[in-house]
Amino acid sequence: MSFAFEIISANLRYRDVDVLSDISLFINAGEHIALLGKSGAGKSTLLNHLYQRQRAHTAMVPQDVALVEALSVFHNVYMGQLNQHRTIYNLLNLFWPQKAEIEKIHPLLEELELGDSLFTCTGELSGGQKQRVAIARALFQKNHMLLGDEPISALDNVLARKVMKILHQQHDTVILAMHDVEMALCFADRIIGIKDGAIAIDRPAENVTADDLMFLYES
């Protein structure tokens, strides 16, 4: 059996400090995982580590959205496929958005309720809108795996549900750091909880209730 990720007693560092020590973790292709834990527990560190290992097959929604604010929504989303075209085509599309690309990107934005902002500068968007642009960029990659660092933290409940559904439908393997336990239990099939620099809980979602996870957030 082959794993999508295989980490054997690794020490993961953030800014030269060990955040997670002696971690072992096996993740199969096809799993939908929610990472839980207090802020600062090491969820981002773990996600970034996973991302560096499998960049070629993974799309990422980073916590700080990492958009180029001087460029439009269209261009930021297009960046998801920057590796699929020749440089000359990419440059052409930068200065003169190509119809073919607009036709691909616009429906995606409609689905995320951003259809009206195709050529708005991302610097002018609200936090929730920016987050959806980062999500659209990840979706546009059409990759097998998706990593997300609290990708729906700035969205209202209805929209968040819709987005979660799309994210899970369109990727085989999904690993999301979540702040909303209910939402995590609703969409994930495996829950990994991090506490005190170690994996404190790792169970199938159906065997976990929200109460079981309360201890993760206690000091």
């Binding site: 990422m60 990492a66 261009h75 920057l82 590796n83 990419n90 930068l94 990659q141």
Partner: protein
């Protein structure tokens, strides 16, 4: 009494200590410097000049128009060349070879470059274009590289793997810093206009040339008209300088410069580099090493007799002008600070500072020299006015952004207790940043006839002793690099941060 421990009434911070040292040095430099007024009737001449300034005469509009168009054309072509080459160099600026070469190219003043090219291109437009383009590429390379470094790398990290480097650069890095690059380049264009104007003094058909012609004939009203048009041109830049029009301006400039372009004699170019600049004793020597005694005499005469005096005079003038500029800046900046001025007062202050800082030092020094005769005085005042206005402008902008407590005092108290202590570190950063620039200008002012390094360079060129001129230019460049690194050290010692755009 506090248990015998010594309490200093004046806790001297590093900034105060350094300032005092520089003021004391400048004081002693001033004592030994040659400051005098040697014209017979300086007041009469100044009166005529002042009268000319208030009665500008635009009747010679074809000369004025031609001078300004040429000034613009050289500036546009030179700055475009500098910005393009500088941008490419900025992309590879991390390589040692690149940033060291840029430091060297930067340390030679535009007018020295012009003098060099003049020897083998003559008054060909290339002389002016390269004189601006070469040092400007080196400066742009450094500043662009610093600006590009400021871009956030997070969007780059979020790109799919195997995105091409060029596309990644254009999509993630460049758009983030584009406004900053643009505003710096516009600022460079303003500098280019000043340089281009000054190039007229060595014979290119720009503003300086016509100014000299008017001055020599005592036509102060015509000179005033020329200067006023130049100020209006610079003050109105933000209205006529549209990014979309840049390409039009560029080709118009080429079109203006082309008629002057005659064939370049490559034999001259070759001879300059392979013969003329080789030290005379080596050039004349036969076989073997019998040129060595001659070379030692040559070096002794050049270094000990000419260069040493030039270096001392240049350093003296630099130190005095540096401190004077700083003092003037502290007096001027309240004029453009909102805390002191109403909106109208601030506008007027801006007007004054724009005039002072858009007049190149060289041009100011030329004017004062005509009025007062040759000594260090005209150069000092010129350097003080120009640099003081620039630093004052930057300090004023910085001070206007300060958030002061509501119970703030007013007037002198506000100045001395609230504002100056807050801006002082930034003020020193701006001042030390300009130190090497002031040195470079000081050296150049020698070409007007005061005994700084430029005087000896200029004389060597006139005597067709290119080997001497080149060595003197190299010496100037080395000192310039030395001052630059000393200034950086002092700024680090004072823990000062310098804004990118203040030079």
């Amino acid at each position: 009494m506090l248990t015998g421990s010594h309490i200093s009434l004046y806790p001297r911070s590093r900034a105060v200590k350094i300032s005092l040292i520089f003021v004391v040095i400048a004081f002693f430099c001033l004592l030994v410097s040659d400051v005098s007024v040697s014209t017979l009737h300086p007041w009469l001449e100044m009166g005529r000049f002042a009268y000319g300034m208030i009665t500008p005469d635009f009747s010679d509009y074809s000369d004025i128009g031609f001078a300004l168009l040429q000034t613009l054309a050289f500036a546009f072509t030179g700055v475009t060349l500098g910005a393009l080459v500088g941008f490419l160099l900025a992309l590879v600026f991390e390589y040692r070879l690149v940033h060291v070469s840029c430091a060297v190219l930067r340390s030679v003043h535009e007018l020295f470059w012009a003098l060099i090219f003049l020897q083998f291109f003559g008054l060909h437009p290339l002389t002016g274009v390269l004189a601006i383009g070469i040092p400007f590429s080196a400066i742009c390379a450094k500043v662009y590289a610093e600006i590009l470094e400021e871009a956030d790398s997070a969007p780059y990290d979020a790109l799919p793997k195997n995105s091409s480097r060029v596309a990644s650069f254009f999509y993630t890095r460049l758009p983030q810093v584009w406004p900053h690059l643009k505003s710096y380049t516009l600022y460079r264009l303003e500098c280019g206009l000043r340089t281009s104007a000054v190039l007229g003094f060595i014979g290119l058909p720009t503003l300086g040339f016509y100014l000299e012609v008017f001055f020599k004939q005592g036509l102060y009203s015509q000179a005033a008209a020329l200067l006023i048009t130049f100020y209006l041109l610079i003050a109105s830049m933000r209205w006529w300088l549209r990014p979309r029009l840049l390409i039009v301006y560029f080709f118009a400039s080429i079109y203006l410069l082309l008629p002057e372009a005659v064939d370049i004699d490559m034999a001259n170019v070759r001879r300059f580099f392979t013969e003329d600049i080789i030290p005379y004793p080596i050039r004349m020597a036969g076989d073997g090493f019998d040129f060595i005694p001659g070379l030692i005499d040559w070096l002794y005469e050049l270094l000990w007799v000419q260069a040493s005096d030039g270096i001392i005079q240049t350093l003296i003038l630099t130190q005095v002008s540096l401190v004077l500029s700083g003092m003037l800046a502290l007096v001027l900046f309240p004029l453009v600070t909102l805390h002191f001025q109403g909106v109208i007062g601030q506008r007027l202050g801006h007007g004054l500072l724009v005039i002072l800082r858009s007049t190149p030092e060289y041009l100011l020094a030329y004017i004062f020299l005509q009025l007062w005769g040759p000594s260090m005085l005209p150069a000092m005042i010129a350097l003080m006015l120009h640099n003081g206005a620039i630093i004052g402008h930057l300090c004023g902008r910085y001070a206007s952004e300060l958030a002061l407590p509501d119970f703030s005092t007013r007037g002198v108290n506000l100045f001395a207790w609230e504002i100056v202590p807050r801006i002082y570190p930034q003020f020193l950063a701006f001042l030390f940043y300009r130190w090497e620039i002031i040195f470079r200008e000081t050296a150049i002012l020698g070409m007007l006839g005061i005994y700084t390094l430029g005087f000896y360079v200029d004389s060597a060129f006139e005597e067709i002793r290119y080997d001497r001129a080149m060595l003197l230019i190299i010496i100037t460049a080395i000192i310039n690099i030395g001052i630059d690194s000393l200034s950086r050290r002092i700024r680090r010692y004072l823990r000062l941060k310098t804004a990118v755009q203040c030079g």
